[in-house]
Symmetry: C2
């Protein structure tokens, strides 16, 4: 793949909740071009990743190509954290993306002696679990319109203040929501017609203005 080593720019102070007290972690950065694979399902999990810029999708495939995206990872998010040795998803860059990575083994080594880090790993795993539990309800029981509304609210909650930039294409959204890209497009059109959202910029992936109250009515 097209992974290029890049010099470390100004570093955010914390990865994995680690502070200066954990200076022993070697963390380096990598760039992935749009669409390239970061790791594959069932590959050995050598690293844990944090998104520095860009966005990542984690997905599973059925043998005939049907795809279910389990999560999008946005700036600041940690992903690839496996407590087994093997990745359970494939991870790909949605757009050009920079990630920071830490060796899983070094993390585990420290976690063995540092209860605070061990607890932090549990907290992260729990929040992944919580997201998956909520997503099961969406996939099993919500309508197309409800799913798209919930997706926009999730992106809004995670990224900003009523203005959401969507880095992923309609097909990605569809595979996240268990729909087809056409159904997603129709739902967005309907929400647009209802005034629940507006598009800013010529490209409709760029920015979406969200009316939280109106979307929340669909989030039962």
């Amino acid at each position: 793949m097209f992974a290029h080593i890049s010099p470390s720019p100004a570093c955010p102070p914390s990865i994995l909740g680690l502070t200066a007290s954990h200076a022993s972690f070697s963390s380096s950065e990598f760039n992935y071009r749009k669409g390239t694979e970061i790791y594959g399902e069932k590959e050995p999990a050598e690293y844990v990743y944090q998104v520095m810029s860009g966005a990542v999708r984690s997905y599973k495939l059925l043998s005939d190509g049907r795809r279910q995206i389990g999560a999008f990872h946005l700036v600041g998010d940690i992903f690839g954290l496996e407590n087994n040795d093997i990745h359970r998803f494939t991870a790909e860059a949605v757009v050009d993306t920079t990630v920071r990575l830490i060796r899983r083994l070094s993390l585990e080594r420290v976690a063995h002696t540092d209860p605070a880090l061990a607890r932090h790993l549990l907290v992260m795993t729990t929040s992944n679990l919580q997201h998956a539990e909520d997503h099961m309800l969406l996939l099993g029981r919500k309508t197309a319109l409800e799913r798209v509304a919930a997706f926009l609210l999730e992106m809004d909650r995670r990224t900003g203040v009523g203005v959401v930039a969507l880095p992923m294409c309609r097909r990605d959204i569809a595979d996240y929501l268990g729909l087809t890209l056409e159904t997603v497009s129709r739902a967005l059109s309907k929400l647009h017609a209802c005034g629940a959202l507006d598009f800013l910029g010529s490209n409709q992936r760029e920015i979406v203005l969200v009316d939280r109250a109106q979307l929340a009515m669909l989030d039962t």
Copy 2:
């Protein structure tokens, strides 16, 4: 609810992977009648539970009553393990059920000083996460027939050797698989007609003989 204290019968040696070295846990047993609630979503999580006999369903509800069952807990399973203070599901007895319970606080207290237990809690949370991840793929991308086949294979894997007793009704299965009870019934009929399974006993909930190879062909 109709929870009755029962005298402790012969105790399996281990709960939560704890051995004799953790004698400090007070564990008592409770009985729940079929259909009664063990705990509700958003209730404070005071206990962690292990199924001694019977079966339990964990579910979330939408405001209009749509239900998504996230998991069935069978004999030996641990459930109600929250790392937050609040239950994220409602748990109900599918049939008359006996559970053993441990105070969450006492568990956390020990986990703070016992790395082995802390690691075990992470392992359990991870396996819950793994199940949820697989279930997202099922709910988002599999057909009705594939879902029912996957369900039977899961029950077979968890309970026995080609013979599965289904304690839950069609509606429970449907709410687990994101379908309606009629669709589940039709899928079972089709699998029966294909020879992929047989019913033993007059009541069709009781025992199902599974042809693993044939079901596995549907498990893409």
